[in-house]
Amino acid sequence: MTFTFLILAVIILGSALAAALRPNLIHCALLLVVSWLGVAGFYLWAGAEFVAFAQVLVYVGALSMVVLFAVLLTRQSRAELRVDAPETRRAVWAVIAGVAVSGVIGAAVFATKWDPAPVTAPEVTVRGLGLELMGAHAAALLLLGVLLTAALLGAVVLAAPDRPEKEEKS
């Protein structure tokens, strides 16, 4: 339990909680980016540098941009960026669910007897990782490529405007 860890935890949870409460959509998105950065920091702290960089690239770099595009694409006026405050009833249920889930997981965590942790982090070089990916997990990697392609195409199809005659029909 280190200080660094605590700082990171505060950043992660704090920005996430703030995002949960802010009414402004842009603010929420930006706060979440902060949270993702915190997670990246956590990876660094844990010794998984490659994953940390991947997290920064994918989440902080790419995903946040996409989210911002989506926000901008789906807004008609500035006023609309202020989304409605959550309905009380749903919010209460959400909190109950959240607390219950974290409570259960926490209970499970405390109830479990853990082996003592190894002292040093496992050695993972980028080279080793690359060999691992192209060796044992080559098939998964390929599949992932296919999945990403399919997702790309799917996204294009979904987001593309419907053709005129189909609109008439609907």
């Binding site: 860890f5 844990a46 790419a62 996204a155």
Partner: protein
């Protein structure tokens, strides 16, 4: 409290925050982001176990997380496309109004 437990608790808390966001907010984009948070919490767990738990193969946790990030990226892309389609359809992003799947 061992570092592993701390990490797991952090992950649980992050997951719950994500869940609360997904459950409480009505904007579809925010719901999607809440889900991304929950995914992050899961990844966090992987790294925690990789780092603080013995018996695993050297690179398994890392590779798992890498794949999960890739899948999450794909998921996010599709999800956001869905959001845009939804917006085009009902001219807003209020998820509670998207109830056309009702049985």
């Amino acid at each position: 409290m061992s570092p592993l437990q701390g990490c797991l608790l952090l992950s649980a808390a992050l997951f719950s925050v994500g869940l609360v966001i997904a459950l409480a907010r009505s904007n579809a984009i925010l719901v999607l982001l809440g889900i991304e948070l929950m995914l992050n919490a899961a990844n966090l767990n992987f790294i925690a176990f990789w780092r603080f738990h013995s018996g695993a193969a050297p690179a398994t946790g890392v590779i798992f997380v890498l794949f999960a990030i890739a899948v999450a990226a794909a998921e996010a892309a599709v999800g956001l496309a869905l959001v845009i389609a939804l917006y085009r359809h009902q001219k807003n992003l209020r998820l509670q109004e998207a109830t056309r799947l009702r049985g």
